[in-house]
């Protein structure tokens, strides 16, 4: 059984925790040993959120090791750019084209890096960068907060697993009244057919 190490990076309130929960449960459904770790103590206060999800025959540490990530899922551009140390040659980076400027940028005291700079950083570390309009797609469906499920839909093309398995887990973890929209969000992400 292949080892799959996935990192997710975003900003508090973007739904990274729900997405990583779905990813962990899907791993379990597919028969993997799974561990997941995140730091969310101060996440609600608009800080950085990171989540590690690991699938494997036997997983010890809940943390992805530097230079070992197979996938990096970026919910926000700047947050994605913080992780080159975790990439290796061929790491797939799915990055949501969306900016949430941090306070120093709002105050005009720092510059938000350009798309080109971010892409260069990630490519320089071996990343294969795939841009996705995740927040845009989720917004068109009615709620930009579903960006995580759109990204998972895209990722599912690469990770495999039956569509039913993913949708079953989404059904288990998403509140009833948001279920249909989230299923649509997942399928929209899957329809992007990233490869």
């Amino acid at each position: 059984m292949k080892k799959v190490d996935i990192l997710m990076a975003g900003v508090g309130g973007q739904g990274t925790i729900l997405a990583s929960n779905i990813l962990a449960e899907v791993g379990l459904e597919l028969g993997y040993d799974v561990k997941k770790s995140e730091v969310h103590g101060m996440a609600q206060r608009g800080g950085t959120v990171e989540s590690h999800v690991r699938w494997g025959e036997k997983v010890y540490a809940p943390l992805v090791e530097q230079g070992h990530a197979d996938y990096l899922i970026g919910f926000e551009m700047l947050e994605t750019a913080r992780w080159p140390g975790y990439l290796k040659e061929g790491t797939v980076v799915i990055i949501n084209r969306y900016r949430i400027p941090p306070p120093a940028v709002n105050l005009g005291k720092a510059k938000y890096p350009s798309e080109q700079e971010i892409e260069a950083l990630l490519k320089g570390a071996g990343g294969r960068v795939i841009w996705i309009e995740g927040t845009g797609i989720a917004g068109e469906l009615g709620n930009p907060a579903m960006v995580g499920v759109v990204l998972l839909g895209a990722l599912s093309n690469l990770l495999g697993g039956e569509e039913e398995t993913w949708l079953k887990v989404i059904q288990r973890l998403v509140p009833e009244k948001f279920l249909e929209l989230n299923k649509k969000a997942f399928l929209s992400g899957k329809a992007l057919q990233v490869a």
Partner: protein
Amino acid sequence: MKKMMTGNEAVAYGAYLNGVRVGAAYPGTPSTEIMDNFSRYPGVYAEWAPNEKVALDVGIGAAYTGARALVSMKHVGINVAADSLFYSVYTGLKGGLVLVSSDDPGMHSSQNEQDNRNYAKFAKLPMLEPSDSEEAKQFMGIALEMSETFDTPVMLRTVTRISHSSTPVEISNEEPPAAPPEPPLYERDAVKFVMVPANARRRHPIVEERIKKLAEYAENTPINRIEPGDDTIGIIAAGSVYQYAREVFPEATFLKLGMVYPLPAKLLHQFASQVKTVVVIEELDPFFEDQIRLMGIETRGKDIFPIIGEFSPALIRERSVSAGLISTPAAGAEVAAAAATATELPIRPPILCPGCGHRGMFHVFRESGALVLGDIGCYTLGYAPPLSGMHTSGCMGASIGVAHGIDKAVVKDRTIAVIGDSTFFHSGIHPLIDALYNESTVTVVIADNSVTAMTGHQQHPGTGITLQKKNTRAINPEQVVRSLGFEKVDICDPYDLNGLAQTLEDHLESGKPSVIIARRPCVLYTKAKSAAPQIDPELCVNCGTCLELGCSPLMQKEDCVTIDPVLCNGCGLCVQVCPAGAIIKQ
């Protein structure tokens, strides 16, 4: 069937499965979700106590009756509860009592990274430490049994990476043991439970004898186990660090300790004799290492691994390569360093949310020029620029006492103590009594957002709702301070900058101890929201005054400031501070 659970969920599940009837806690990251989850199981009683010491006394009382009890808190909460911890080790209990200490190596959300394994040695009680959620569940059962067999409270230590990591847990089909059909009569035994010196002197030898018996138990318990492997290196580890070390040393021989105090001397000697080099890998203090050396076993440890901060597989690999234990180089470090020098990325610190009532309060504090002695909660974020409205913050409840001390030492500055509503109930009332009794002149501001916000909106004695969602009497901070004898008490809305500033000035100049309650419920909790104001680009002179509020929707562009209407909560503070009248409320 297996289910993904966080360490916190698994601790709660383990407690429920093993018949715990009473739970008490005070919220604190990373421990909060333990009691949150436990409270939802059928047939249990669970509460938020006003502070950790009260929570532990509640657990001790329940266990004195023979019921099983769970008490949980973050690592620094154990400092607050320590007095009760020490007496309960002397008295023992009738039912099992497990005290969970959730430590925070790396200080993800804490003021220090104290290693609470030291409490086990200090207070002379056993401590277990799980390395994943399945163990967290199982160790609860073992700890409860141990507590009853040895007549002692048992500590269960977790760290952030256990509390907030999810791993598979086997779900049991068994029902938890039923409650007794009729309430038992309390068995009175004053000699055991009244710790006057004469009785305590009888109990101390029992405590010493007990810890020796527990050390014997540690020799044979399956949760301390040798995992055979290559005999070049023998690694001793526990908890999350065991998992990291397993990644880095897949072939080594391990002594995995599930019971971290007292240590099994014979097992350690046996282990040391099986391997060429013993290496202790432990986060924070050399807790195992010092004891193992005293047993006469040669070991490596803190000469290789740091005493500061959180470990990771990458850190263990890097240090092990440097020490010559392994030759596989650590990946990624050079790439990360190169990337860091290539582009400097702006940091994203946690900040007060848009619409937070604390923002207006700190703006007024800064404008007053007063010295502000702070406390622990969301409002601690008000210390950071651009608000820069707080000058000390040490621990829960410290603000008022520190302000009083500064007052008595006499400085030119005017002083404000600021404390949150949940923190006020936690440990703010006693220092208020001191301020009155010993004639302070401090102005105390209770930053009242009407919930325990920082840890994720838990109830507290002022909210009128219990942990298990029952309506109850709401204790009103204003009535509390008036009943203590404070004569100068005002309630302000921190959205009203002028009103709060005038009241604050009046209090600061009054020359007597006084209280202002700055009340504005947390908007994340109430979901209150108004329309975003609009900026007239013709009137905006781009002076940046509004940006000094440190509110994330306000963004400086080339010609003028803009407001992100999605992020904005519509609190109207920027409308009030704009000197050009360019921000217009909708």
